[in-house]
């Protein structure tokens, strides 16, 4: 067990990097026991850590993901029915490479090929929420039990959401053109091992390019919360003893478009300032699952009724998960 803890501390939490940063700052005359020095230390250490983890993880994960392009996922999902199909959709959502810019073509591609709307929504909820990289990052910032609990509730949220949409026969509220004229369904081209490595490398470049600004801003906010903002202020607004902290965190997170990699440092700084874990996770889930740009995109393919059901369900589901975590951990 102690070997495992050591590996976790050194490889994921990168304690060595924290020590190294502290040592180097000390060498140039920065005292990390002052608020400013501590903020600087948090910022440098976290930015480097996240970029190292991000690059290594995205490479490994993209390699795995290259086996599950959406074309293959669609084909697999076509073989199942009912709750099983929605469960598999939620699980595949974690390994299928997903970019919010492709969510609409994906929605149309799935629906037009005859997949039930509930199955597609299970996929659309789980895909941004329970991402392989975010699981490992959660484990690095908190610990494995929290990461696994996060995955479990994320999958449950996705399966129940899809089921609700299916039971309420929400197919009626998908824009008609989505079903029009069955389209050719292109198959994913065969990939060699070299292709997969190239794909994984491209993903690293693409994702680092896309998220670096969110990481810098997120870590900056995290560093400020961590060392500059007094704990009483944070707990006055988002403290565990306030029942409204979870709904507030969720409502703040819903419209924001940010990456999970940028949001995690904020969530971890909040937890260190005495904010409930459930509150911090609610913020994280709300930011990743829903955002104003993604809602506007989705509006192209579904009618207001289905869109509002989706947004309200996710919002209340995330709040419920937040409350549960706060009660269980508190």
């Amino acid at each position: 067990m102690s070997v495992f803890v050591w590996l976790n501390d050194q490889l994921l939490k990168m304690v060595w990097l924290s020590d190294l940063t502290e040592f180097l700052l000390y060498q140039i005359g920065v005292d990390v026991s002052t608020p400013l020095g501590a903020s600087l230390h948090f910022f440098i250490y976290d930015v480097i850590k996240i970029f190292i983890l991000l690059s290594v993880l995205i490479f490994l994960i993209s390699y795995i993901q290259s086996y599950f392009p959406p074309e293959r996922t669609r084909q697999i999902l076509g073989r199942y029915k009912g709750v099983t199909a929605r469960l598999i959709a939620a699980l595949l959502g974690t390994v299928t490479p997903f970019c919010s810019c492709s969510s609409i073509p994906l929605f149309i591609g799935f629906t037009n090929a005859g997949l039930p709307v509930g199955v597609t929504f299970s996929f659309l909820i789980s895909s941004p929420l329970v991402d392989l990289a975010s699981i490992i990052l959660l484990a690095s910032i908190f610990d494995w039990t929290i990461a696994l609990a996060y995955v479990l509730v994320g999958l449950i949220l996705a399966v129940i959401g899809g089921s609700l949409i299916s039971w309420l026969k929400m197919e009626r509220y998908v824009e008609g053109f989505v079903f029009d004229s069955p389209m050719v369904s292109l198959e994913a081209p065969e990939m060699t091992r070299k292709d997969r490595i190239v794909f994984a490398k491209d993903q690293v470049k693409f994702i680092v390019n896309k998220v670096w600004i969110y990481v810098l801003v997120g870590v900056g906010i995290g560093a400020t919360i961590h060392n500059v903002i007094p704990e009483v202020w944070v707990s006055a607004v988002l403290g565990v003893d306030h029942w409204y902290s979870v709904p507030l965190a969720t409502l703040i997170g819903v419209p924001i478009y940010a990456d999970i990699f940028g949001t995690l440092p904020i969530a971890s700084a909040l937890v260190e300032k005495g904010v409930g874990l459930g509150t911090a996770l609610a913020l994280l889930m709300a930011v990743t699952t829903l955002s104003l740009p993604s809602i506007i995109l989705l509006k192209n393919v579904v009618k207001p009724k289905l869109l509002s059901l989706f947004v309200l369900y996710c919002t209340f589901g995330i709040m419920l998960i937040g409350f549960m975590f706060n009660i269980l951990m508190g």
């Binding site: 392009p69 959406p70 074309e71 669609r74 970019c99 810019c101 492709s102 609409i104 073509p105 994906l106 149309i108 591609g109 799935f110 037009n112 053109f177 004229s181 389209m183 050719v184 369904s185 292109l186 994913a188 794909f199 491209d202 693409f206 390019n209 192209n300 393919v301």
Partner: protein, 84 residues
């Protein structure tokens, strides 16, 4: 011949267009470029991942930024195919 770039204007679509234009220049072809940004139209080509590269009405690559050398090969193959 028409080359279509399918995508909602994300950075990758722009990169793909630059590569495609370079490939066309290398081969000295007279080609019209069309950007397809409408979701309905993109989906009608059967792709779920952007950017997509289309010669006339044939999808030749999707979900990745195909490099210039590969596009040159694809163009040569397509022209051969059309002659037959």
């Amino acid at each position: 011949m028409i080359i279509k770039i399918l995508g909602s204007g994300c950075p990758n679509c722009k990169k793909l267009e630059i590569n495609a234009r370079e490939a066309v220049k290398q081969l000295g072809l007279g080609v019209d470029f069309v950007k397809v940004t409408d979701f309905k139209e993109i989906s009608s080509y059967g792709i779920m991942r952007t950017p997509g590269l289309v010669f006339d009405d044939k999808v030749v690559s999707f979900g990745k930024v195909t490099d210039t050398a590969t596009i040159v090969e694809l163009l040569n193959a397509y022209i051969q195919e059309r002659r037959v």
